[in-house]
Amino acid sequence: MKLLLLWVPLVLVPLVIHNNVVLTILIFTYLLGILAVSFNLIFGFTGQLSLFHAAAFGLSAYATYLAMAHWGVPFWLGMVVGVVFVSLVSLVIGTICFRFNLRELYFAIVTLAFSELFRLVILNWNSFTNGSLGINFTLTPTLWIPGRGVVPVQGTMMWYYLSLVAVVLAVGFYSRIVHSWMGRCFASIRLNDDLADTLGINVFRYKLIAFVAANAGAAVAGSLYSFYISYIDPHYFSIDQSLAIIAMALLGGSRYVAAPIVGALVLTALPHVINVNAEARLLIYGLILILTILVMPRGIVGVLVTGLRRPSRAPQTPERPRHAA
């Protein structure tokens, strides 16, 4: 509960700072923060490197828009369609991966394969998705506000508060999961899933729950993000997007629920603070990934909490017997 107070200053930010650039950076930070926080459930807490997260993000963005455009549903119902669709897809993919006990590299590769397959379909189904050109949105989400009735969500202020509420809800949701008995099951799977199985934990079920719950968060982020920038294209699914998600989670700190938001802030603000082009941005992403793993595997928040000293025991990712498929 005390941690909830940390959010209060963020509520006050728009009242103090009227700079649109700063607020826009924060909006992107919150929206991408949801993406990174949800990714961290499967990656940081359950120890499975899923490369499907960017695809969940993109699929939901497409599903939300297409549901609105074809069925005429309002945005929030469209988002529900997106989340339900992504959850069902994740349920199928997760069942396939975990039923066949795919681990580590094999899990990463198969989730990557599925996200590539979805990207190929989105890219080539021109009549439905407009292919590589993407879709410019003409629809906007609406919101019922007491005293003002139903109003369209537009302008920096409204998006600021909407995304702030969304990220707070996401952090609340995931921290409830992580700090419950379920979270301890995830941790036991991360540390040693054979042992977890021996102890009577249903490894398959909890991996599946973590995978679906993480992707559902990505789906929410995808709906909001795509409507904030009013545009979708197959780049949502790209490997660069997955890379950015991993970078945010690692840089922030993969041991803390809200820490990936710090990573999202750094990576979103960096290109604005030091004015660089796309190539240099890619270079910085790469260097951040490498340096984070090699120098501070516990991320910014981890370093702030415990200092640069290396933990005496338990490396970041436990070593497993090699060639375990």
Binding site: L282, I290, H323
Partner: protein
């Protein structure tokens, strides 16, 4: 129709050997260092650019340019191994993430130096072979021959030489190998450099056939990893077969389905293999 099928079959075999050379590097690195180096795709791309630059930029004859580029990439691979991957040995996820980071660094540098404009090398060896209506460009035949020789050489070196047997021993049991006098640090660095050299050679030969862009590495490493896993990671001839299978599936598949879905075949194969025969297509016993 038959000509078309045979033509695509041959084409698939040739592209498949390019996948195979990457797959070989993936398999060797995994066997010895316990990580999957996705940066091999970026090394291949870099090899293509180096060859193009040495040959068209500096005027060095093509065969020499390929050799120089291969050596240069071996050096890049060695440096990357000593500076980065040395610290992620046997930690698959960290190794994966570091290699992904390295890819962005390499791609970013290539973008800065050579921009996104596709580069085309001069025709090294114009002309075609015609065999009963099927047309095979001479250069493709040469590329296939060179790659096949290198793969056979690698196989022979691994099975017939002391260093090769040391590598096999290390892959089976690192401690026992070390006790038997295998200098494991040297072996690991050597294999990392050799795998990079294979990727660099693949890139150098690729340069003579197709346009070079900074993105080519991503596609090839994906196919390489698919091929390596398809056949069962750790097997030299298996990765060769895996590469050919994916290449042929793409070549023949493009006759029947839109070529936009070319990249999907390998992925579908891979998922099926991992689900039903996780130790690989040619594994004798499972696990």
């Amino acid at each position: 129709m038959l000509q078309l099928v045979v033509g695509q079959l041959l084409n698939g075999v040739i592209v498949g050997t390019l996948y195979a050379i990457i797959a070989l590097g993936v398999t060797l690195t995994f066997g010895i260092t316990g990580i999957v180096n996705f940066a091999l795709g970026a090394f291949m791309m870099l090899g293509a650019y180096f060859t193009w630059y040495f040959s068209d930029g500096l005027g060095i004859p093509y065969p020499l340019a390929v050799v120089l580029a291969t050596l240069a990439i071996a050096l890049v691979g060695l440096v990357a191994d000593q500076v980065l991957f040395r610290f992620t040995r046997n930690n698959l996820i960290n190794g994966l993430i570091v290699s992904i980071g390295l890819i962005s660094v390499i791609v970013a540098i290539v973008l800065m130096v050579w921009t996104t404009t596709p580069q085309n090398m001069h025709y090294v060896l114009p002309g075609v072979f015609r065999v009963g209506g099927v047309i095979v460009p001479k250069m493709k035949a040469v590329v296939f021959g060179v790659l096949l020789l290198v793969i056979l050489f690698t196989y022979a070196a691994l099975t017939r030489t002391w260093a090769g047997r040391a590598a096999y021993a290390y892959a089976q049991n690192p401690e026992a190998a070390a006790l038997m006098g295998v200098r494991t640090k040297v072996l690991q660095a050597g294999v990392a450099a050799y795998s990079a050299a294979l990727a660099g050679l693949g890139g150098g030969l690729y340069a003579s056939l197709y346009s070079i862009t900074p993105e080519i590495g991503a596609g090839y490493i994906l196919k390489g990893v698919e091929a390596a896993i398809l056949a069962g990671i750790g097997s030299v001839m298996g990765s060769f077969a895996g590469g050919i299978i994916i290449g042929v599936a793409e070549g023949v598949g493009s006759i029947f389905l839109p070529s936009a879905y070319n990249d999907a075949y390998g992925l579908v194969f891979l998922v099926l293999i991992l689900l039903f025969k996780p130790a690989g297509l040619f594994a004798v016993s499972s696990r």
